[in-house]
Amino acid sequence: MSTKGTRIPDWLKVPFAGITPGPSQDKGQNLFPTGNWRSIRPVYRDKLPPCNNACGTNEKIQGYLDLVKRGKYLDAYALIKEDMPFPSVTGRVCYHPCEQACNRGKYDEAISIRAVERFLGDLGQSLKHDVVEAGPSNGKKVAVVGSGPAGHSAAYQLARIGYKVTILEKSSKAGGLNRGGIPDWVLPQHILDREIERLIELGIAIKTNCEVGKDVSWDDLKRDYDACVLAIGLTEPNGVRAEGEDKEGVLYGLPFLRDIGMGTSKVKLGPRVAVIGGGNTAIDCAREALRQGAIEVTMITVEANTDEMPCSPEDLHDMLEEGVDLWHGRALTAVLGAGKVETLQLHPARFSGAINASPITINRNVPAERFAVDNVIIAVGQRASIDWLPQEFKNERGTIKIDRFGRLGDTNFFAAGDIAQFGSGQPLMVVNAVGDGKRVAFNLDKALRGEPLQPRTVAVDVIMDLNRMNMTYFPHFPRAHQSMLSPVTRRKTQVEVIQGFSEKQASEEAGRCFSCGTCNACDNCYLVCPEPCIARPERSNGLYKILVDYCKGCRVCIEECPTGCLEGVPELDFDTGVVRMDTAFAISPGLHGRQAEELLNLASRPAKDI
């Protein structure tokens, strides 16, 4: 049967989509704003990743890993430089608390954050001009005493704000602990030199051979500068209170390393060397001793096992690989020998756990062990040298008395770094000193501008927990390891032991990052929303918009968010988002009426083509 000649009434010619409001791609069809089905609303709220929280200077680690993943290395370097003046240094020496906190460590293996940081730092080293520039000058002068990690960081941040900064350094070369406390085979000198050049490029003046208390006095500082940061560190080595500690051949850890680092060392080690202490400095001393010609190096610690030792386990492992002997549970009680050290007298000892001046209990009832050595290096911590400081600013721990903002009384003097953190329970590590320098620099700026200060300890935000993330989206993938020199070759040279990442390795390693609690624009919510009410208006990343008029609150996006950035908030907590439908199925009372009118008026409309 042909339909030719069949008359179709005019009002049937128009498709129904022309009668009811037609749907549009960005607004949906507006007859059913299904948003009022919802009792829980999904909300994007970035949380603090555990790595950012654990980092001593709160580097935006998740941020730069994400940028590295996308291949934006320069942006990543710029981001890291906001909190860290020398990523090339910390990329080598940091004890990486971030990696211990890494959520991926609870899943398979932690991300090699330090190696990525080093990759970025080395990239920054090769740049002709640094990405950071000095701020607009505000005409104020600040002195920073000490050019170690804390002083470096404080001077860097102050110069970025716009201060005229002068660093006073008592040695002949700037660098402080970075130069004097860290051996060459961990941190080559030219890397540090380059970072210090960067400081000079920022307009910072560095006065070397200028010791406060000798060349410059407290009053000079007060007179010549608007404010001052004391980042003098802990410079004097502790002894072990053993008899005969003053004999020839007894060395102390930090001066031993410092002299080698500054190139002023005259020490000739004998073939047999003992190192007293179980910390990171002791380990560096033992490994340095091998490189300085010792043949047998023995490390003697009070701790009963390796777990108790206050050192980085990786460094300990590397040291043992290089062939250093490790003795536990002994304390040095006397250094014997005729004018020169020949034998060490050791007694069994342990940590008593008592909180008093000497937490070590030495058992002198058993016969002492004798141990023949040519040299002994004592590395059991440091103390401050602050004789020049006015008495009112000294405290009972032998360091500087500061308030919780890092300020000395109501002066414009601030203290940062080990000298401020010693005894506070904070680890005395490079990255913590950098963070302290950064926060004190900001406080100094606030003090000079008369703004309220912020406490040095960071307030903890919500830290993302692994349980609130969706692990379905993360396949297991092993950690990339940095290649190392073999123990046999490295123990005799000053060549850097650990090698850096290639670009491919760095980008792969950054790709393993979970982006805990932070939206990394994975588009998963956009993909899984059945409405679809998660709009991605443009191709740029992370700009999702939830159409609250339509979101039914099924919470699939919250459950499927891999990073846990999306969270559900009860709808009644919002004043906004009211979708007032008149009946259960029409948005306004007139809508159906209007449709009826439109139907009546259809006859006057021109007939459409197909």
Binding site: T20, L31, F32, T34, V528, P530, P532, E559, A586
Partner: protein, 342 residues
């Protein structure tokens, strides 16, 4: 007369490389009245996105027709048409043929237009199986029939369909005090049946939109290959399967990972396991116990341990004893089937 059958050119639809490369346009927009967390709506959204703007969508009665086109309104931006419960296949064939004629007569521009008919498991596996089968024999008409399978007549309140798995609780098979297992049939193997019996059909696939990219690419392949094609999609249904809507996506993942829902495609007679199923078959990942899948759903809440073990043994059979694991249930040996007493 081999030259008699001429397949019209189809749109060139390359597979999507990644989520980031998806087009931003939505052809199935928000404002439909499906349940919270409806995975079938997700299938519709992705199907429309994969097919693109030059498409005609035909829907047979079912959730996706009723909920998406209530009261003179629709979420479809592309042209759509409603068809009767069992006639999704006929509608696809007829629309495709009509387009061909209109183009031949010059009434509309000559261009490849995707014709997609969707049907539920009730409309497809129960009522419309004859029409679908007929459509799949007509090699000269390009069309895709997508069966979204939520394992019951979910629109009319969860009645039992040919797709409902063994033992599930539906309105027609509620467990009682005397008998626990009221539904003792196994799910119809639609994709296997369509692939085995239709030599003109160039592409048959199973998908699950928990793996969205894979699903969209299957749809694109089916549209681009020409001739009649068939896709069977498993859609978790919060209302019918009785679970919290936020688990919708995870339920699909569990169905695939537990081996209950194997993903495969038959392209020009060539069978290939795809996606996670391929990895399971290659031994790269282990199958999740069926228990994890079943006990998350209220419709299996009455299962005892024996029932779960029996269900697991049937799934194991599917993987170990079928001639083509997961696809066609032919076996080498006769086996004893001992379902637990209800």
């Amino acid at each position: 007369m081999a030259t008699y059958i001429q397949i019209d050119p189809t749109q060139k639809l390359d597979p999507f490389k990644s989520v980031k490369k998806l087009p931003l346009e939505e052809y199935f927009t928000s404002g439909h009245r499906t349940c919270q967390g409806c995975e079938s709506a997700l299938v519709m959204k992705m199907m429309a996105k994969a097919a693109g703007p030059r498409s005609i969508i035909l829907g047979s009665t079912g959730c996706m027709y009723v909920a998406n086109t209530t009261y003179y309104s629709t979420s479809w931006v592309v042209p759509w048409m409603h068809t009767q419960l069992g006639s999704s296949g006929s509608a696809a064939l007829g629309t495709s043929a009509a387009l061909k004629v209109l183009m031949r007569k010059g009434k509309i521009k000559n261009e490849p237009i995707n014709v997609i008919a969707f049907c539920g498991d009730g409309g497809g596996a129960d009522m419309g199986v004859g029409a679908i089968s007929a459509t799949l024999t007509h090699a000269e008409y390009n069309s895709l029939i997508l069966m979204y399978d939520n394992e019951s007549y979910a629109n009319t309140d969860i009645q039992l369909s040919g797709s409902t798995p063994w033992g599930a609780n539906t309105t027609f098979s509620s467990p009682g005090k005397v008998k626990r297992i009221m539904h003792r049939r196994w799910k119809k193997n639609m994709a296997g049946m369509m692939a085995a019996g239709h030599p003109e059909c160039k592409y048959v696939a199973t998908i699950c939109m928990s793996y969205g990219l894979h699903g969209m690419n299957s749809i694109r392949k089916a549209l681009a290959i020409g001739g009649p094609t068939f896709i069977h999609s498993l859609d978790p249904c919060p209302k019918g399967w009785d679970y919290d809507p936020y688990l919708s996506h995870e339920m699909g993942e569990l169905a695939v990972n537990s081996g209950v829902w194997p993903l495969y495609e038959v392209e020009n007679g060539l069978l290939r396991l795809t996606g996670r199923t391929e990895q399971i078959a290659a031994g790269k990942i282990r199958r999740v116990p069926v228990r994890d899948y079943l006990l998350k759903q209220g419709r299996f809440a009455h299962f005892t341990n024996d029932d779960i073990d029996y269900f697991q043994s049937k799934i194991d059979d599917m993987w170990e004893k079928w001639l083509i694991p997961g696809v066609i249930p032919f076996r080498r040996d006769v086996e004893a089937d001992t379902p637990p007493s209800s």
